[in-house]
Amino acid sequence: MEGSQAAGLSKARREEVEDVVVRFAGDSGDGIQITGSQFTLTTALAGNDLATFPDFPAEIRAPAGTTFGVSAFQIHFGSHDIKTAGDAPNVLVALNPAALKVNLDDLVKGGMIIADTGAFTDRNLKKAGFDSNPFDDGSLDGYQVIAVDITALTLEAVKPHGLSQKEAARCKNMWSLGLVYWIYDRDRDPSAAWLNQRFADRKEIANSNIAAINAGHAYGETMEVSAGKVHAYSVAPAKIEPGLYRTVTGIEALSWGIVAGAGFAGLRTTFAGYPITPASAVLHTLSKMKQFDVTTFQAEDEIAAVGAAIGAAYAGNLGVTASSGPGIALKMEAIGLAISVELPLIILNVQRAGPSTGLPTKTEQSDLYQAVYGRNADAPLVVLAARSPSDSFDVAIEAVRLATQFMTPVMLLADGYIANASEPWKIPDVDAYDKFPVHFHTDVEGFQPFMRDEITLARAWAIPGTPGLEHRIGGIEKSSTTGNISYDAENHQVMTDLRKKKIDGIAKFIPDQDVALGDDKGGIAVVGWGSTYGPINRAVQLLRAKKTKVSHIHLRHIWPLPPNLGELLSGYDKILVPEMNTGQLTTVLRDQYLVPAESLSKVSGMPFKVTEIESAIRDRLETKK
């Protein structure tokens, strides 16, 4: 590429940095998410470790220029291991005044602002709530400001390709991407290749966007040469375990994990879902996997979706459904049926901020009570939680293993952050996983529908179509021996005890709880679950580097809890539980182990910052007797 020589020249003048946080922001129609994912791909190819955080509004196309229509994509990348999407951006790309207004407070002091002055018209400034132009009134003093008429420069750059004015202006996200590529010394070729592939039928669009990237990149070079006012940086590759990598989002990893798990169980997959943010993408992903014998069914509502998944499980498929908080609430009666008839069922809960409709596009982990306790009567099931996008693959496989081996519904908790965020993933060898083939019951001799495996207590899975095993099941209490309807008082006690014993007993078939970072006793244990993994781990890492006695424990198995957890927790002086809810795991730990677990709560719809957890730990150290 023609700019490569210039970029080489400037290398010497590049300042080496360990890690950087860049946030792209603009109108929801500005193509911010695409810009972010392109930067992610290029950065991964450059060998940096990274984590991303897409943050978009609930409205599909909010009125242009409004603060509530701002879409953002944050990426944290560096030469060391990156655990979070970053507390505060070092660079803010603002494609309109509203994007600047919404995101400016988050920017680090002295950070860089790249803004499209072409969009800073009086009308847009007013819409965003600015009384005066921030470039003129001194309010951006102290920041490194690159104020450029990106719109005009983009129109100029793409002119030869003959797009309409409207289409041409849409390329301004790629112009800004080109400039950021130059600032961080990134290769433009992967994005050019992607554009050529994406717009194979409309070459003029591909070429215009590539021209915009090149123009933005060239602008950086010229600016550096002429004024030297802009810093350029280089970020060395991170030390990463050798292997083949790709980026993966939580939704992709969950979907692929389910299908991989079904393969290990030797089952066909039937997925039934109903559109809901942020879980719908599971339906989209799986509907493109028919070649793996995956059937997807868009049901008429959440209840029908879980119903169809149960119906499929009854027929001997892996029945799977997915939703988010309010949809899960609708499914609960049917999940109780699956518990009562002891059929395997996977329920993916991509949690979002609530209650009720809440904040559909914002993240929270406030469905732990709903997962563990949220049904009528004594109705235990298995609850698992994924800690990151890539972890979702293994957790989904674990969900399939436990559901099919123990004939039970399993609820897998992810959240809006994990679902949409992407991170590099060392691609596993699927063939190397342990298989757990399901054996349907076919032996007529002595068959009873609720006969159990002595060790796992799982009931026999005899599916319709099997000659000689015709039987009836249902949600009415059934005799522990024959499976026939039974209103007998003692039998109900026996069956309730059996259902509990079966789920509790799963603790013997899951790994002991490990310590993610730190010592196995003494000092403070910071206990987390789900997407708080990154910020907790980084905070503990930073404090341990300063000789602080603090450890990180992160739960994958929420119910039943790992068998050694009580003993492990009792070895620490203090237990701090950061959660994006008002203290749900805290309650469970206190209840189960009578330990003095203390909650650190955040429910702003945004993930924890590392500094928030760090300072909470420090507070506990200072109050230590």
Partner: protein, 341 residues
């Protein structure tokens, strides 16, 4: 409890389970379960491939009394669960058993969608115009003025007609039977089973405890000929003791009327001939209510079309044929990847 060796020819008794039937003595459900056992024996339906799926209500106990596979699920959701079972294993022959409350109140949404999707199963709605299992509240099919524990001054909301609802939802097989039709019911079940797609049958069923004799004006023996019309494809819509009464289109209007052949210049050629593939006619027949009209029984509408489960497997087969050796390892390695040395 299970049949371990199958006799050469199954009789109606072979389709009965060993469970004691717990409906109220005299309940219309007894006749329906017997009719079903008769129909299955006549078809020699393989018990292992036959599945009864029900919701909640008196009718929903039905699966327990059959020796086939059975799933007694939750209120209103049988259609959704049955849809999942059918798409998971299209070889199974599925019968959904439901009532008027189960199908048209709590489960109305699922009934609509199983019919419009045309999932290949049979949906039997036992309509007794009352909530029996919860002790007698009025139901969505109860007539205006129904006095019940929840409507002591009489119900005030208009009822829904199950057959008209089904036709409106896009059902391609709609039939009506009566619990007292011991001869006709098994034949109706056989027609429903033979139809590929969702087959909907409303059975008017007497609740002896909470809504006794609600259909008596046209179901008691003395009224059958005068107050019912058994429709048959290709046959004129004639009824009455001497088969002199008939249904014709009112001249100049899109509605039907009862006429007498031989009176007022009416000839047999003026009488409508039943065409079960005609949706408009099905609407008119479904809407005929006692006492103004005879109640139509038999197959009101039958016009087969593509089924949902066929469509599902068509797409699956195509995808698998296009990528017969799909591997998860390949999928994970598709797209942008990079190697860290």
């Amino acid at each position: 409890m299970n049949v371990t060796t199958r006799p050469d020819k199954l009789t109606a008794k072979d389709y009965a389970s060993d469970q004691e039937v717990r409906w109220c003595p005299g309940c219309g459900d007894y006749a329906i379960v017997r009719a079903m056992q008769t129909a299955l024996a006549e078809m020699q339906a393989p018990p292992e491939k036959t599945v009864f799926i029900s919701g909640i209500g008196c009718a929903a106990r039905f699966p327990y009394y059959m020796s086939t596979y059975g799933f007694h699920t939750i209120h209103g959701r049988a259609a959704a669960i049955a849809t999942g079972t059918k798409i998971a294993n299209p070889e199974l022959d599925i019968w959904v058993i439901s009532g008027d409350g189960d199908s048209l109140s709590i489960g109305g949404n699922h009934l609509m969608h199983v019919l419009r999707r045309n999932v290949d199963l049979q949906y039997i709605l036992f309509n007794n115009e009352i909530y029996g299992l919860t002790k007698g509240q009025y139901s969505p099919t109860s007539r205006v003025g129904t006095r019940s524990p929840s409507t002591p001054a009489g119900s005030i909301d208009a009822p829904v007609s199950p057959t008209e609802f089904a036709i409106g939802c896009g059902a391609r097989f709609v039939a009506r039977g009566i619990d007292t039709q011991l001869k006709q019911l098994p034949q109706l079940f056989i027609r429903a089973k033979e139809h590929k797609g969702a087959s909907f049958i409303e059975i008017l069923q007497n609740c002896i405890v909470y809504n006794d004799a609600i259909f008596a004006d046209f179901t008691q023996k003395s009224m059958v000929e005068e107050k019912q019309i058994a429709v048959e494809h290709g046959k004129p819509l004639l009824f009455g003791k001497d088969r002199t009464k008939g249904i014709r289109l009112k001249p100049g209007r899109m509605e039907v009327e009862v006429v007498t052949v031989g009176a007022g210049g009416i000839e047999e050629k003026d009488i409508l001939v039943h065409d079960e593939t005609n949706k408009m006619m099905a609407h008119l027949l479904a809407s005929m209510e006692s006492p103004e009209f005879p109640v139509a029984v038999g197959v009101l509408y039958c016009e087969p079309g593509p089924t949902y489960d066929e469509g599902v497997y068509h797409q699956l087969d195509e995808a698998i044929a296009a990528q017969p050796k799909a591997s998860m390892n390949d999928l994970l390695r598709a797209g942008s990847t990079w190697t860290v040395e």
